[in-house]
Symmetry: D2
Subunit: 291 residues, 4 copies
């Protein structure tokens, strides 16, 4: 079991008019990821409303903030008991058997224009045996062809840009891997989280984006950037792509400051808590057939 404790601190300056925010920063609840404790607070204090989306289970927090400074602080401790499976046993799911709520994740979306990648995906991966290893091959292909370069992309960059320019950040790697999976009719989705253990030289802890692919009978995690061990990821939001699960969406004249994030892992083998490591197994934080 993994136990991760983390803090997310966000800060905004709101100009003359009140501004609306939709946050998606609460840790996901799944049969594999249990929230032991959490606290979300606003400074100044303001009422907030949380709603959960029906398809992915995201917790969206909506607030309306007055002009001035808004600080958001979220602290949580989660236990993660991944479903682990030997990769060689995990099959792709025939179209006819994909659960209805999962089917939408084979369609193209804002940043994952899979409809334009059908030939490329077929040429590169069509000859591989369907299953987990084929998806891993897609992940390796993206990682090998894309340079991780902070500042090289922006909020309009899509999978097509990344396949052409071969550079990006985690969000871009994720969009490209998703688009290639969907081009092969493999359901894939975008996940935001925070990660324990990324290389220090990549900068301060930050939100991370990675991929979940529906295989066998659940969603499995992949990190096409290769900068994290999936075992050390706390899952927050899931959606079709970055358009669905921004950690903060702002409406109004708002100035944002960089998020400040910290995370620690419990190292207590006597009680069954181990530090995240790279695993030979496929890892899932989802329920069977669900989110």
């Amino acid at each position: 079991m993994i136990q991760l404790s983390f803090t997310i601190a966000l800060k905004y300056e709101i100009a003359q008019q009140p501004a609306d925010f939709v946050f998606n920063i609460l840790a996901a609840r799944t049969p594999c990821q249990t929230v032991i404790s959490e606290n979300l607070s606003f400074e100044p204090a303001i009422p907030d409303g949380v709603h959960t989306d029906a398809v992915c289970g995201n917790f969206f927090t909506r607030v309306r903030a007055a002009p001035g400074t808004l600080q958001v602080r979220y602290e949580a401790t989660v236990d993660i008991d991944h479903h682990r499976e030997p990769p060689g046993m995990i099959e792709e799911v025939p179209i006819a058997n994909i659960p209805p709520d999962v089917l939408g994740f084979i369609y193209p979306s804002r940043y994952c224009q899979s409809d334009r990648l059908l030939r490329l995906a077929a040429r590169e991966f069509g000859h591989l045996r369907p299953g987990y290893w084929r998806v891993q091959a897609i992940r390796d292909w993206v990682m090998a062809r894309t340079a991780f370069t902070p500042g090289s992309s922006n909020t309009t960059t899509s999978a097509l840009d990344t396949i052409v320019e071969q550079v990006g950040v985690c969000r871009d790697f994720t969009h490209l891997m998703i688009a290639l999976c969907r081009a092969l009719n493999i359901p894939a989705r975008f996940v935001t989280g925070i990660d324990y253990g990324a290389a220090v030289e990549l900068g301060l802890p930050d939100f991370h984006a990675y991929v979940e692919v529906y295989l066998g009978n659940r969603w499995y995690s992949f990190d096409p950037t290769g900068i994290t061990a999936p075992m050390g990821l706390v899952r927050i939001g899931t959606g079709r792509d970055a358009a669905d699960v921004a950690f903060a969406t702002m409406f109004g004249a708002v100035r944002s400051f960089p998020p400040v994030i910290s995370i620690t892992a419990l190292d207590d083998p006597a009680n069954g808590y181990f530090l995240p490591t790279h695993s030979q197994n496929a890892l899932s934080s989802s329920a069977v057939g669900g989110y």
Copy 2:
């Protein structure tokens, strides 16, 4: 009240391997649109499974067909009793009050890259009084700037192409109007249907695409092509854009034939059934706050 009876006939040739299909051709059920009778049949007969999506209420029919010819026939009669409202009374909904399931329709999607149109939408429509008439102004702007030209676009054409090239078919008009609404934080979605009464010179009856915008407390219909009276539209599928609600999605080596569609309207004033006309009122086929 409107009563429309229609038939949709689809035909496919499936090559050597069985192929999967997902159809989205069943008439929507809403408090305003009642299905009096319907029949969906396959020739040869094959088992089908219908599932309904949680967000939009679409009926997706999934089948697996053997090599050879597949013919699909759907016949239905629907009563449509639109919610009608004087346009001047209908307000836009503040972000804070948009229902959770509706909020996703302000985000960009595959064919509606509203994130890139923020300045353009603000310049063209930002000075207008929020409300139904502002949305109508968007609809008129799209209609005035876009030439309806069959064959001028393809399945990869998006709102950005249409704003640049100013030409398209119903799907393109719809994507552009949706993108402009979302750029102003007005929820908008893509609807497929079939229409009664489109001009004969535009060709044989076909599927139509149009827009629904969330205003006041429900979804209102707009046709940015101007070729139909919204009162004569039978609603079938709704989604973020065309990626969500293709009338047929095929998996495998399949050759498609053009759909054959016919539709008639009941003209029986004595019993309260009138032919569709252009209305001064805003029209909705949705429930309050729902789909």
Copy 3:
């Protein structure tokens, strides 16, 4: 030596106003391609003016035609005595030594956005030994990854579309190969011509587009589609990309008919004329350092 005789017949319907045309259909004159005879005629007869561009030597014919039918007929016989060179001897030219008039052909152009392909080109071809064989590797890469499919692209399709969608016609193959060469600072240009000996199953004889690359001290021919033997190509226009050398540019309300083209090769070995064949040598139809 090769001798090719060909006819190009073009037909247009001009609506109510006179229309202007710029044609680029006259065979190029180079030290390697000699025009033995040629005749350009218009029906009805109209005055035409020919000008030659300073950079590439194209012959542009400008006419102004009255409403009605315009027929253009060009007949020519050319002798082609290619410069032939063993490929292994041909080096790339260092930037410092590229002739001034050639330097412009390393810059991006309308359909060849080489500036966005720097990483991709470096990854795929950067490790290869510079020279003719590296350019041949680019040609093979494009050919292997692109499906030749008439009707799959249009006049707005660019190299970026082709790298993503992996389908196109000769113009698209050509744009992609040019863009990849330029991304490696290898001058490359677009050539229009007509070809002797293309496979019959590809349809009627038509204009063809192919690539010339500046290597050693002259321009060498490559056909990334693989459908012709470069020895059987009559060179007509050269430019940065298709924007420069359309065989006809029309100004006004004009309806075009498909061009009708025929071509024959002289088979007279006794006098030194051989039919075009695939050659082991690199072929050039240019002067040293010139066009």
Copy 4:
């Protein structure tokens, strides 16, 4: 008459291998712009070769620099005696009369995809009387719809991006205005220069990009950003778009520093030298029919 004296200082750090540079920073020579004195120097001293392009008369300076620091300094004094013409007298040139060397400037280029803007240009400007004032209307349209925002675009941004996103820097305004002119068959080209008198709040003096349009029988200057008076512009390079006339193109591992530019104007009315002002006349720095 205007007399401007200016200095351009460029600085580069070249890594382990020698690097090639192509500079385009020498003041243009035209019947209207006379170079009184100039000096180009390199530190360390290296041999350079200048060549002039046949179409636009640009002076390209090519050097090969060893690893280490390279500093380039160009000082010049130019007299500018603009051709001035009352705008109302200046006509557009019929296609049939456009000089051959000018004709290429109606075709689309890398950053000016005029081929996709035909309908938009016709709708916005097709009803206006052809001539200088129509071009001025295009210039005003671009200026009104585009926000001047440093850092909002990059080297891959094209006219299509700018028409959609309505933001950019001088280069983007210029590309969009050029594309719209060409969509109406009006020859237009990209000019780089340095400007006297731009508003201080826009930052330090820098290279500027602006438009020249072929009207009457010569090229006239327009600045769609509105931040300069065209009378205060020293013309350096001209080309189809930014791909042709970068002030510096680097080949190799080179780090660039921002250019340092200064400029002064001679204020000596007694000798006929006046400070640049906004003029009611159309201004040209070109010869009749030439560059």
